[in-house]
Symmetry: C2
Subunit: 196 residues, 2 copies
DNA sequence: CGGGTGCTTGAGTTTGCTCAACGGGCGTGG
DNA sequence: CCACGCCCGTTGAGCAAACTCAAGCACCCG
């Protein structure tokens, strides 16, 4: 299955119909408060598994951040498979633990870092997570999988603050950007230092 | 094994020597940035499992928030046990997934809620998680498992801000407090509304 | 060429932080 | 027993970081 950027894959509150594997692209996981405040709570890069095992209701929404390819499988089938296949359960367990580590890393970032550090951390995350563009001897080129609104919702900031901090990083020569989305980081270590 | 409030149970960066079950009390999980900024990334209430399966190094510190009783078991023994005991692995998997849900809930809180909402959310969390004091028809009495510094580090605030927000909640009659730690919430719904 | 969307930039405001003083509870020592 | 100091929490005043509101720009598409 393929989905274009922006497609809503899972709606918060729905009953989970299927699980999926992310084959390519980036999926963002979101939560929204009653009054509309939104927060991106996770990003899934290929080849992550998508879906909450054992849940009876989705507690978050999922949306294609970029164009994505998914490999979907029905709920019942996967749960059956997991039950009779300890190695698979083990693999999923390890992913869950890794996601928990990442979530806690993100909690530190949200709780204790400044806006500048948050933006730097986000760029660093994307630079190191998404191979496609390529990383070589400290230089990274990649395409942002999120627009400014999503970045802001990921970092717990406003889009204006994100924009300003990106401009500052550009002015300092730590990142270079063409056309809003394509990023070059000449020296990852320099960026790393901005992460706090 | 017993440990008094404040005891350091696991040091960040150490090799994990043992796993444990929290039998009573509350354990706080913390992360610290190089410059000393600290963030509490999770609270474990009884009967949670403590320890990162499959990790070769602890990525966080653990400290007794209150007096705790732990049931420790050596690393190798538990891993062996898990390997030959799918139901146990399943149980741990479910806890990991639950912790992930909680971590994401917390991400929303840190990213998008005001100081007042954060403090209310914290009180609500403790009121509903810790049975001991007792919850009856919307009224809750309990003892805070964390001092002001830890609450601040949990919420991503300063202790002054936490203190001010608590004073405001007291002034509004939403919570009553004696002796700094003992809390009465006459109407949980009122508190719930403050959570955003 | 006009309108729309997404991003940037500026000006003023608000929220939460910093720094500082103060107060209560408690243990220690006179 | 009281005096003192310490720890922890509270409160106040001023400040800084990030938000809000508003204007303007670049790009895309019809």
């Amino acid at each position: 299955m393929r989905a274009g950027a922006g497609t809503e894959l899972v709606r918060d509150g729905d009953e989970p119909g299927a699980y999926a594997n992310v084959m390519s692209g980036v999926v963002k996981l979101t939560k929204t408060l009653e009054d509309g405040r939104r927060q991106v709570v996770g990003l899934q890069f290929a080849p992550d598994f998508l879906g909450r095992l054992y849940g009876t209701e989705n507690r978050l929404g999922a949306e294609a951040a970029s164009d994505v390819e998914l490999c979907r499988m029905p709920r019942a089938a996967l749960e059956k498979l997991v039950e009779n296949n300890p190695p698979l359960e083990n693999r999923l367990m390890r992913q869950a633990l890794r996601e928990l580590d990442e979530a806690r890393e993100w909690i530190v970032m949200l709780g204790r870092k400044s806006a500048a550090e948050k933006v730097a951390s986000f760029l660093y995350l994307v630079a190191t997570q998404s191979r496609p563009g390529g990383v070589q001897q400290g230089r990274a080129e990649f395409r942002l999988p999120l627009n400014r609104t999503d970045i802001a919702d990921f970092l717990g900031l406003t889009i204006e603050t994100v924009s300003r901090q990106l401009s500052l990083l550009k002015a300092e020569g730590i990142v270079e950007m063409d056309k809003l989305r394509d990023v070059v980081v000449p020296d990852l270590d320099l960026l790393r230092e901005k992460c706090g």
